[in-house]
Amino acid sequence: MATLRTRLQRINPLWWQIGLLVVALLLPLPLGDYYRSVLWRTALYIMLGLSLHIIVGYAGLFQLGHAAFYALGAYTTALLNIYLGVPVLLTFPLAILVAALFGYLITRPILHLRGDYLCIVTIAFGEVVRLALVNNMFGITGGANGLSGIDRPVLLGLAIRQPIYHYYMVLLFLVFTIFAVRRLENSRLGRAWMYVREDEVAAEAMGIDTTRAKLLAFIIGSGWAGLAGSLYAAKITVVSPDQAKFLESVIMFCIVVLGGTGSIPGVFVGTLGMVTLPELSRALKEWRDAWLGLAMVTMMIARPEGLWPSRRIRMEIRAAKEEAMAAPASGD
């Protein structure tokens, strides 16, 4: 077994990626429209997971209201298209900007909070955004029913209607997202994020502008969620406040944390478990909340580093565990 493993590891990772992409391109061809839509949803949530992964995985900031930005992106597309007639594809950049701007405005005053306090405030902000949409703020968001009748995106004179083309569109953006997130990870900013996550005080002492690093994580992550929201609006053609529900935020959070904090393959695994599986099994769909909860509790107890963790996080958690074992356990 060990030899097979080393052999597999010796293969250039580029081949794995090309292979995965070919599978992703061919997979929908033999499937029906329902399963193509499931694939579309999977790809969309991987993108959402990656957008939150920047905030939670790299910078270590506990954002539990991420769905708000997803909804803001979707509503930006809907509002621009329905009221002003802007073509759907052209609304994408604006949706990113709006979500990123809100990401800045909302997180700027709460950056100094840590851990569970940050969790709670982000939950509150998420709920405020949802309630503002439900209460039909400014009279343009359509209340609890949301907005419907968004145009189909048009590319080179052709309207994109079928699930398979929507899947390919999301896949295109997803490939770009993965590329960008990996470049970010290895950039100066990415290293700063991880430094902030490991030890904020030490990072500051080393001359990292921690406020700027954290803000940028929120802005980039929020903007990216906005793009995912636009992609959603383009396929479903209806947006509703349900997109900003707390459950959505928890699903995204679970994708990142249970998949493996700080690792991109972890986001894939997390999405399969949190989104694709419940989509495929009816029983699991009815009990999805319980399934989510059970996964959260058992993973925290049995495998806190996630299913496919980054090497750095795994070593960290193991070291912390050994330390805790060496010293008598203490609650605080």
Partner: protein
Amino acid sequence: MQFAQQLTQQIVNGITIGAFYALVALGYTMVYGVLKLINFAHGDLFMWGAYLGLTGVSAALVLLGGTTPWVILPVVVLVMVTVALAGVLVERVAYRPLRSAGRLAPVISALGVAFILESLARNVYGASWKTYPPGLTPSGGLILPGNVRVSVMQIVVLVVSFLLMAGLYLFVHRTRIGTAMRAVSIDHDISRLMGIDVDRIIMIVFLIGPGLGGVAGMIVALYYGSFDFTLGWVFGLKAFIAAILGGIGNIPGAMLGGMILGIVETLGAGYISPQWKDVIAYAILILILIFRPTGLLGERVAEKL
């Protein structure tokens, strides 16, 4: 005159709701005190109190074959015990293995328990609104000077809540176990050196907090008449806001926070718009965490938030 009468009426209603928030907030604040954990499952234990109370009352009425308000008393005690035991079970299964795993893992575990409890309630009892059988709550009321109405139910709610809270306050400040509880909330290791059984104290906290929460769930459901499975999340989050507002870990703070939140929310619903009632509560949370994270009565904590 009209204005003053309306204002007083709103405040009376606000105090009643505030008493509920305070009862639930006590559970959050006590657990946070000893474990530094936001027990997200608390709101759903509270909701289970409402559902179990409904089952208990319905079963008792079928057995006795009639309607008598007195069945409520044994059912309340039963609900209190059951929810308290459920609280201990949750702590044993989902929190104790994570005692030394940092601060995030237990929070995620608590969220997980909340989702399990909510999903269970929805699948067992269904997603529709539930109503307690009629004739259980006292009707009628008093008219105070200035034409302010106070219903008998409101008086019962207030008396019961204040008795429970006063009892808890005396328990925490006048008994040996209460003293041990306060010691544990300051430092686990030193408490252990002083001969305190920390695990036992934490277990007692998880008996009292969810026990009070379960009773509150049943009274809230009786007061409003109907409820559904989202009760735990909405009410739980607000009660948590009350706990933060008063200063988390501080028992009188939870009572004060609950009252203030209840009054502000009712006034906001009356004078601004009922639709924005929840937003007011969240805005209070956001403002308090930005400007005074220790809450109104919270002591200066040395650790950075």
